[in-house]
Symmetry: C2
Subunit: 337 residues, 2 copies
């Protein structure tokens, strides 16, 4: 079985955006634009949106299950207040739940959280519990920067986040560290903000004792770990200079990278330096890069091809990356699968 740990519902039917537009219009003028009570999307619209995109690509690429979450760039935690974020997160998560019910063999849910700048993340516990306990989700996307590029929240290693981590541990679910869109003109969302957040989170983990406090807390750092594998020597050296544990030890049970790196040399580097037990197959499909690479004739984000091309991986290595690590990091996948 091939499990893609990183997919977003970027092709959701337009009824979702209609709801969001109405919600945002209400922010500007509460009197004139009441939020519609429901997201109006039919099952057929959902099927259509997936059959010609994610499901088609799963079939073409030979992958089986996608760990599926709402569109990351649309989380936009910096817009409105915690109430707006909660209403939006619930609609998005409910839609993912419908996807998983329609295609239980193809998708497993991961939730968006109702984060909001300046609001302690304990406000997200209830939605996490609902998604995991009631909807059968297996993890969450945690935004280290709900301000959308102004980086006003405390680092992920701060006790500010601990109540939420306690619930993650209790439910045995991991978080993918995933920012949303950027409202800082310095940061292009998918080209800078996403990658910077990955790098930033890793360095936060490196410099603190978070995993002594939470030995079973697990994070997936997406987009191949940002800049980290490319600078693995720098991070090994910084850890050594700062008398921190070696990186292999730091990441072992707690920090994992996906394979959303869109060229073979990058994937080869990732697999050379990061322990294979800490790498999860992922493609970010359909996501940041949608075109076909003229150098290969294949989609940039068809990351399975790059992994297939790495000759020195054993069959056992491949099972670890394609399936075993996902089952280990997201153990709730194993319920009924």
């Amino acid at each position: 079985m091939i499990i893609d740990c990183h997919g977003h519902y970027t092709t959701a039917p337009k009824g979702l955006q209609t709801f969001r537009d109405a919600q945002l219009a209400r922010l500007d003028d509460p009197a004139r634009a009441p939020v519609p009570g429901d997201v109006r999307i039919t099952d057929d619209e959902i099927r259509d949106s997936l059959e010609k995109a994610q499901l088609k690509l799963q079939r073409e690429r030979g992958t089986d299950v996608t760990i599926f979450s709402p569109r990351a760039s649309a989380m936009a935690h910096h817009v409105g207040d915690a109430g707006v974020s909660l209403d939006w997160a619930r609609r998005c998560n409910d839609l993912i739940h419908r996807v998983c019910n329609l295609y239980p063999d193809n998708f497993v849910g991961v939730c968006q959280l109702p984060q909001s700048p300046g609001v302690p993340p304990s406000n997200c516990i209830e939605e996490l519990e609902r998604c995991v306990n009631d909807l059968g989700f297996v993890g969450c996307n945690l935004n280290p920067d709900p301000s959308g590029g102004h980086w006003t929240a405390p680092p992920l290693t701060d006790r500010y986040w601990y109540p939420f981590y306690e619930k993650m541990v209790e439910l045995d679910v991991p978080a993918m560290v995933h920012v949303s869109s950027s409202c800082n003109p310095n940061f292009h969302a998918t080209g800078a903000h996403y990658i910077n957040a990955d790098t930033t989170a890793f360095m936060q983990f490196l410099t603190a004792d978070l995993f002594k406090d939470f030995p079973s807390l697990r994070f997936v750092i997406p987009h191949g770990g940002g800049a980290v594998p490319y600078h693995w020597g720098r991070y090994r050296g910084l850890a050594q200079d700062m008398k921190r544990p070696p990186l292999d030890e730091l990441v072992r049970d707690n920090v994992f990278f996906d394979t959303c790196v869109y060229h073979l040399p990058g994937i080869e580097l990732l697999l050379k330096v990061v322990p294979l037990d800490n790498v999860l197959f992922g493609s970010e499909m359909v996501g940041a890069v949608r075109g076909i690479d003229p150098e290969t004739g294949h989609y940039f984000d068809d990351t399975k091809r790059y992994l297939d091309a790495v000759e020195w991986l054993s069959d056992s290595d491949r099972r670890t990356i394609f399936e075993g690590n996902a089952r280990k990091v997201y153990p709730r996948i194993n319920r009924g699968r």
Copy 2:
């Protein structure tokens, strides 16, 4: 000749910090702590600080010349106002000038700029002119985030920066895009802020037409280009999706990466994906990582060793990376050398 394009005077004699401490104390209490008129450092102190560090390492590693600038993390443009930044930049640059006069064969100067949050960078023109015309410097370090991790300045492609770029073009000097220390607790300086800034700057260049306006403007993105080479496929794909020029064309005459990547797999990746005409040898010595890699028995930042180990580089390739590109990007080096 082997030219290291990235060295900072991180080992400056303590007289420099004494001046800075007095300057900062005055910020807190102007009445009690007047700034000393001079940085009190003897030539022997300068010699001692270099002989046992940068010069020793140059000799041991077999490099010849270092393009040398004040300590980047100490620029701290976010501290005080533009007057404080100017006073501090001048002292730091004058000290680099003394280094270059004492060891003209070993060092060539690059200047710190008197940037300050909210102050248009045209305030830096005079100091750039002084350093280039009077002190013989060959370039500058330009901080894309004088706020120190809050990213409040406009992107590097904004017209805000154009008057300064006009002077760079007139003087025919490049800038290394280099942030300073971080006062945002999310960003570890050398482990996150530096690398994020590199990635951020590249994506800014990718999304705008800056080099149409300034065809001869040149930037060196340090630390191996941040995350960019590792995600070269992502950036190629983003450029294609956004109908921007191919990356090779984007970078050709304007954007260059150094080799401050502290392990062989990273260096191999850099050289595989980035055109060799856009790679300048650099080590950041003595810089962010000071230890010896237990896996190799050599200093992490001895980047010449990694380049020497890449067997598929031709002699001509090596001359390009070690010398030719530096002479091309910093043409003032060629005066008398």
